[in-house]
Amino acid sequence: MNSVPWLTILLVIPALAAVVVAAFPRRLATQAKQLTLAVTLAVLVLAVLATFAYHPNRAGFQFSQHYDWISTFGISYAVGVDGISLVLILLTALLVPVVVLSSWDEFDGDPQDEGPAGGALPEDGGLPAGGGLPESGGGTAVLVATPPVRVEAVAQAVPVPRRSVPVFCALLLVLEAGLVGVFAATDVFLFYVFFEAILIPMYFLIGSFGPAQQQAQRSYAAVKFLIYSLLGGLLMLAAVIGLYVVSAEHLAHGTFDFASLRQLDITPGVQKLLFAGFFIAFAIKAPLFPFHTWLPDAGAQAPVGGAVLLVGLLDKVGTFGLIRYCIPLFPDASDYFAPVVLALAVIGIFYGALLAIGQRDMKRLVSYTSLAHFGFIALGLFAFTSQAGTGAVLYMVNHGLSTGLLFLVVGFLIARRGTADIGAYGGLAKVTPVLAGVMLIAGLSSLALPGTNSFVSEFLVLVGTFTYNKALAIVATTGIVLAAIYVLYLYQRTMTGPITHEANRNLPDLSWREKAVVAPMIALIIGLGVYPKPLLDIIRPSVTATYTDVGRSDPAPPHPVTSQPGGRS
């Protein structure tokens, strides 16, 4: 069954679909949406099938394909998955259709379509302060006479409705393709290409599909997101090229093939430089404290669907990169920098949580909670124990689900009231009980309540870290109190108490479409909380292998039981 080129299929289908959908005229919006949904669902099915075809305990990459691409630089189109990337591809395949369905009506007949730019100068689109130009374009304007503009010019310049549904769908599909690619790539160059390529659709999602009335903030957020990520990406490019050059020195001919690159034994000094290059890129992407400030802006300005994908998937690329590239390729450097990473992680846990508590904008709040979650993930990855590592990878999936759901719920609220300001809500539990319930479930998953998916991953991370460094684990564990606070405080302010705004008194509860969106998420959140074994069995071997390859093994307990390991009795 492995003869089937699963990954290429998963990669090509959305890409082609994107081209097709993009060609749809605006009036065929509905058809575009339907097609997109169908395609993404098909991708989901295929991804699940692929998962069944996958052999968890077989070493190395599976579904591998390898074609030369740019032989001059030893670059090839090489894809393949191990447990780690497979689950993330699954997550991608799941979240995209969910997003499509959740933003189904978002851009139909948007009232703000014809709205003015809100007096926002283009320079607000991120032009650095101080870049103002008193004398534009030199004295040209003075000397060259400017007769009145011709009439047809005016006629043609009338603004058309600003949000095209087909384009939105196309962007989602491109994003999906890019994400599959980034997780499936086994050629460092290919990975880098996708790593950068996925920025563009997300950039447009934020920039042109964010909150309609906040044009200036949207552009600012989009540009900030792009440039920030780009900066990281370019530093990584230096490291990528450096890696190539190093490989060229070690091997006969330079290569980007991951498998052969991890065979190199690079001198520690060089490792540190290359690690730094990769790490900064991933730390910005993830994001880890203190490279996070783009996230709240982007999270708040992206359309809800975009925010789900941004926080649920794009940011995973960073943490994925840490375990896929940083640790296996630069083991010595990973050791050397581990304290720094762990410190940043723990800081992030508390920093993110406290800032989340302090937010008044729901989308920003959720973004900050993610910062805390990424702290946990990074902590797990750099504790170098199979438990923590497995937990961290599982955490990536779970965070996608729980935070994804949280963003969706917030989106539903915004769709009803048109604002993300927490102060505008309150007492909704009576008006929209289902919505409230869903938000609570999402929140509970976010605070890692046992029985929800996140608990498994968070506890694995903590227990794994504990065997590696007790102090760190203990400090991190206290973070769960803060998690409880930011979740329940949000719920209290929005859902409980008396209804403070008349506008809230008769908001509609979840529609069937919205229920259909959240149902699978909730099912997974609880299902994976009760029975995470299937995923764990996929993830564990790959993570264990990763750490064994860099010579890390779990510390054995001082007083093991003679009976077989584990709680069976």
Binding site: T293, G358, K533, V561, P565, R568
Partner: protein, 649 residues
């Protein structure tokens, strides 16, 4: 050093379906929550049915257990592998043994009764279905807590009961007070949970497993260092304190009374709050190994007893008084189990007895509140016995039980605790005994105060006027459970002590109940206790029965400092706010500012810097050919100069 795990019998016969215990209420909850409004009409019936069914299963299992020989009564059942990651193998499994079955019966039994009671109590609440769903959810979680065969399953149950407690405290969500109380409860519980979680990690790090069998095996084999095992014990204790509202984490429990009264009876009196006691007894093999931890337990117990009693005397809110009495009663249990093997069984006994009478008391209180149009102020009651006789009778029995009236359950269980405390011997023994004794006296005082102010004396309410009250007896659905519980609280204690039945039953779990040398002969001590209790009652009688009670409490300025302090929960909340909340809020605000101005400021600043640089550099492009030429010449000179330098040097 390695060691062999404790052996449990494999599940067979009735035990192979013990998971029904949890599944039934869980299914109930699922049906009610997913069913939505459709199930509104009969939701409460489904919920009650689920609870009752679970209780039946419990009884069956109990019978089956009786049928087994002593040493394979502890049955462990592996259900499925939960979190398997290499060395870390956690299963979902059940351990039905003498200890857990007792709890199962208590939980499902009292639970069922309170379900029935709620049918009447919540009759007029539009969200009754949800209420029953949550109660079922609670039963399931609580049963998971007591039935789990490893610490992680216990932890799961532990947090899930926290969740259901949260849900039920804020059941009337539109009351801000309720929502706040619920959050407070969850936060403080989470603090305790941190301790429990870390304890589990430490176990895994030490033994490589979290199952009772392995951990207790290791503990019994005495291979774990004293420091480590004490740490584990203390961390467990932190968890226990959080859940059981023990000092210093007691502040949430009184606030939790914002929830509907049946909840106060079920969760915040009979079952959940006693989970801490269960945890300690369950972890007896660990606590046996560390005197240090046990000392801390008794100290906490002792402190909490007094704290609870003292505050209990000051409140006029009937439920708050009962809440603080719960706090102090659980203090007794902690004191008992803190005494080690001598006290485990006694602690459990008191726990069960308390389960009955406190539940009974709360239900009675509920019925009173119901009758008085949701007025909870003792000072607005009085002389109610005439109007609600059943309530008066059942409540009275519960009251007698708690103050330890001879023959009723409290009399047996509490006296045994006092006795054991003295028997501990040494100064500490006397100290603890004295505290327990004093506690008994004060308990007698405030409970009598409560009882008298509620049912006796002249009514402080009027049957006409704008806030007219028409107290009436509650419907049978409510009185029925009250009667059952009254009966329970009357005889339970007796049954337990009769021929050490309870002690022997729990012996495999709690260990040999060593009969220490008596400091005082039991007779003397009993007499002494009775005198103290009588004193307490007399004081209350003189103060609240002989003299009329003011309809409004005196302002703080006219009462003693002790009373003021007691009225303010001994400033527990003030402390919490000053050491945790305020700094937290400040820190949060500061960080928000820092993130905006500092971290992000750096980012924006650098962007602005480059922009500014660009703005200034543009000026160099003056548009004058000659200045361009000059820059070229300059460049040329520099380049040639540099090269010549290279050549020269």
């Amino acid at each position: 050093m390695t060691h062999t795990p404790v052996h449990y019998a494999a599940a067979s016969g009735a035990f192979s379906v013990s998971w029904l215990l949890i599944l039934l209420p869980l299914a109930g909850a699922a049906v009610l929550l997913l069913g939505g409004r459709r199930t509104d009409r009969f939701g409460h019936l489904i919920g009650t049915l689920a609870a009752a069914a679970s209780f039946v299963v419990g009884v069956v299992l109990f019978a089956a257990m009786l049928g087994r020989s002593g040493d394979d009564r502890a049955v462990s059942q592996h259900l499925f592998s939960w979190i398997p990651v290499n060395g870390f193998q956690v299963d979902v499994g059940l351990l039905v043994d003498q200890l857990s079955i007792v709890f199962v019966l208590l939980i499902t039994g009292v639970g069922t009764l309170i379900h029935i009671y709620s049918i009447g109590y919540m009759a007029h609440d539009p969200a009754r279905r949800k209420f029953f769903a949550y109660m079922n959810l609670f039963l399931a979680s609580m049963l998971l807590l007591v039935l789990g065969n490893n610490f992680l399953s216990l932890y799961a149950g532990w947090e899930l009961v926290g969740l259901s407690s949260y849900l039920l405290i804020k059941f009337w969500e539109d009351r801000p007070a309720a929502a706040t109380a619920a959050n407070k409860a969850f936060y403080m519980n989470r603090v305790g949970d941190v301790g429990l979680a870390i304890a589990i990690m430490l176990m895994f790090a030490t033994v490589g497993s979290t199952s009772y069998a392995d951990v207790f095996g290791a503990a019994a084999a005495n291979v774990i260092g004293y420091g480590t095992i004490s740490a584990i014990a203390l961390l467990l204790l932190l968890g226990a304190c959080g859940k059981s509202g023990q000092f210093p984490l007691q502040a949430w429990l009184p606030d939790a009374m914002e929830g509907p009264t049946p909840i106060s009876a079920l969760i915040h009196a009979a079952t959940m709050v006693t989970a801490g006691v269960y945890l300690i007894v369950r972890s007896a093999p660990i606590f046996n190994e560390t005197q240090a931890a046990r000392t801390v337990v008794v100290v906490i117990g002792a402190i909490t007893i007094l704290l609870g009693c003292v505050i209990g005397c000051a409140y006029d809110d009937i439920k708050k008084v009962l809440a603080y009495s719960t706090v102090s009663q659980i203090g007794y249990m902690f004191l008992a189990v803190g005494l080690g093997p001598a006290g485990y069984a006694i602690g459990i006994m008191h726990l069960l007895a308390h389960g009955f009478f406190k539940a009974g008391l709360f239900l009675g209180a509920g019925s009173v509140i119901h009758a008085m149009d949701d007025d909870q102020d003792l000072r607005h009651y009085g002389g109610l016995w005439r109007y609600m006789p059943v309530t008066w009778a059942t409540f009275g029995l519960g009251f007698l039980a708690i103050i330890g009236f001879p023959g009723l359950s409290g009399f047996f269980t509490k006296d045994r605790i006092i006795e054991t405390a003295f028997d501990k011997g040494g100064t500490s023994g006397y100290l603890l005994g004295a505290v327990a004794l004093l506690g008994a006296g004060i308990t007698a005082f405030y409970m009598s105060r409560l009882f008298l102010m509620t049912f006796h004396g002249r009514p402080r309410w009027s049957s006409e006027g704008e806030d007219a009250r028409h107290p009436h007896e509650s419907p049978p659905t409510m009185t029925g459970p009250m009667i059952v519980l009254a009966v329970g609280s009357t005889f339970a204690g007796g049954l337990f002590v009769l021929g050490h039945s309870m002690q022997d039953w729990l012996e495999p779990v709690a260990g040999e109940g060593v009969e220490g040398v008596h400091t005082f002969s039991p007779i003397v001590l009993t007499a002494l206790t009775l005198v103290v209790v009588a004193g307490g009652f007399a004081a209350a009688w003189l103060r609240y029965q002989a003299r009329p009670v003011e309809a409004t409490a005196r302002p703080d300025t006219e009462v003693t400092l002790v009373t003021v302090a007691a009225r303010h929960d001994l400033f527990a909340n003030t402390v919490n706010e000053t050491i945790a909340m305020r700094p937290g809020q400040f820190l949060t605000r500061f960080l928000v500012w820092l993130d905006l101005v500092g971290v992000d400021g750096l980012v924006r600043g650098s962007a602005a810097g480059i922009g500014g640089l660009s703005g200034r550099m543009r000026r160099l492009q003056t548009g004058f050919v000659r200045s361009y030429a000059l820059s070229m010449l300059g460049g040329a000179v520099l380049m040639v100069g540099a090269l010549l330098l290279v050549w020269g040097g």
